[in-house]
């Protein structure tokens, strides 16, 4: 993954880029089908005899259920967009983000991206038994930073996360808010062309929300694209310039935040 050093853009260049509206993410009729194991069906009994009978009758892998989570989503995202994704639990928001990040292969359709998108999620646990410090170093190395870059960024990440002296304790001792803050701080230490944030800001306190919103704004100005999944609609309305409303794996509405959120609230 090429960690391209982006020269800071002049105001004029920024304007030009915005005017040009270069697409960064194109989602073309995307379908995602999940396989879930261990979901017992009705005539499935969890004992060895029935498992054997199943194999004898060649029914094969009945514990596997297919979930059609995203059903034909298409949209184009441009440089400098901050797109909020809203919808009820189970509407396919997280799945869509993971597909954009290239972490879930599409069942049909395609996702085209400019550069490598990076996903920051609540469950993106690094190593729970290791200290925050170790997690920062490991996370940075995994993103492809060099030793020198890690040294430079380290203090910045600790500061931004606001973890303080807990940095020397294992991550399993962190509260969910602290974990989320650290993960966001690590992921945003590198400049990404496309950044996907899945609920990662939900558990932060007021102060952290303010800081992270500032950082998202900064990323947009650097001509990146940010996707934000959150149940907190205020955050989306303040941060995003476009909102996609997913319902049951399909786009219900796509457009200006105010309009979409109003329609969502009335639904």
């Amino acid at each position: 993954m090429a960690d391209v050093k982006v020269a800071p853009l002049t105001e004029q260049e920024k304007q030009e880029r915005k005017a040009e509206r270069r697409p960064t993410v194109i989602v073309d009729d995307l379908h995602i089908v999940y396989r879930v194991y261990g979901a017992a069906s009705e005539h499935e009994k969890g004992n060895a005899a029935s498992a054997l009978m199943r194999i004898v009758r060649r029914q094969g892998r009945p514990q596997m259920t297919e979930v059609h989570a995203v059903k034909g989503v298409s949209f184009v995202a441009y440089h400098g967009d901050a797109i909020g994704v809203i919808g009820r639990n189970g509407s396919g928001k997280s799945t869509l983000l993971r597909a954009i990040a290239g972490l879930l292969p599409p069942h049909s359709g395609a996702v085209y991206t400019d550069g490598q998108p990076s996903l920051v999620g609540v469950n993106a646990a690094l190593m729970r038994d290791l200290t925050g410090e170790r997690n920062i170093v490991l996370g940075c190395y995994a993103m492809g930073l060099t030793q020198q870059q890690v040294k430079e960024k380290y203090d910045d990440i600790v500061d931004f996360s606001g973890i303080g002296k807990f940095i020397n304790l294992p991550m399993r001792t962190y509260s969910s808010g602290m974990g989320a803050r650290l993960r966001f701080a690590i992921a945003s230490a590198k400049s990404h062309d496309v950044m996907l944030i899945d609920e990662a800001l939900a558990t932060g306190d007021r102060e952290f929300k303010r800081k992270s919103q500032k950082r998202i704004k900064q990323m947009r100005e650097e001509a990146g694209t940010v996707f934000l999944v959150a149940h907190n609609l205020d955050v989306i309305e303040e941060t995003c310039n476009r909102v996609i409303w997913l319902h049951d794996g399909k786009i219900r509405m796509d457009g200006d935040p105010h309009t979409v959120i109003e329609a969502y609230n009335n639904a």
Binding site: M1, I26, A110, Y112, R134, T146
Partner: protein, 306 residues
Amino acid sequence: MSQPESAVADAQAGGASPLPEEPLAELAARYGLRRAIARPPLGQYLRQLWERRHFIRTYATSRNVSKYSNSALGQLWQVLTPLLNAGVYYVMFGVILGAQNGIPNYPAFLITGIFVFTYTQRSVLGGSRSISSNLGLVRALHFPRGALPIAYTVQELQQLAVSMCVLMVLVVAIPPHETITIAWLLIPVVLLLQTMFNIGAAMAMARVGAMVRDTSQLLPFVMRFWLYASGVFFSIPQKLEKFPEWIQVVMQFNPAATYIELMRDILIESHRPAPYIWPFAIFWAVFGLAAGFWYFWRAEERYGRG
């Protein structure tokens, strides 16, 4: 699951961001956008892995440290674990079952076998879990997935480095005391060859473990069988004395048996080397690494699904 009419109408009415006229695939091509899921070519993949060398090293070290961080004796277990292992096997096979049957310096013979085999065994077991037990990491960050099985092997190599020191001290300390010879300089060469094979095996098993969910149940039995077939407790040439030599050669072709045999040749003076042992060792290192790497890389874009 059809969308209600009104929803479609809504989507169009609120369409501040309508889809462009041209087909999206063409638009993507025009702006040089690439598919999010694509396997990099082999050369590029190798370069990406090389860029992650610090990740591999740090990950291996961190795992080794965290493994014992909850115990009272802490990192002392890195030395105690191989020592206790050697003790248990010696009491079982050397004393109670009396498996020596004429093998000179049986303690050294046995402990060498166990340590060398354990390295391959733990690399394979670790490799098979390296993707499936790190799904959080795989789904959160982008990095060449091969870094994980390699890191697990490096972790075992670090553990083996400690074990080898214990082994060398034991071999010299317990009677009949072996002497340190110039051949001991070949130990790193053997370990390098074995590590190459182990990385290949760990990568191959990582793919199997990620795709076939029953691997973790079945693999321990396969490993146990492999342990008994590799001449850890007995000497293969001695057991097969009555059979033609080619059968011995076939048994010795087993990679684990090869590396065990090679290490015994170096450490134990009285040990009689098996035929073709060096060509076998080099063959397994090169073939194992190349085949395992290629097999793992072929599925690069599919890890983390499900």
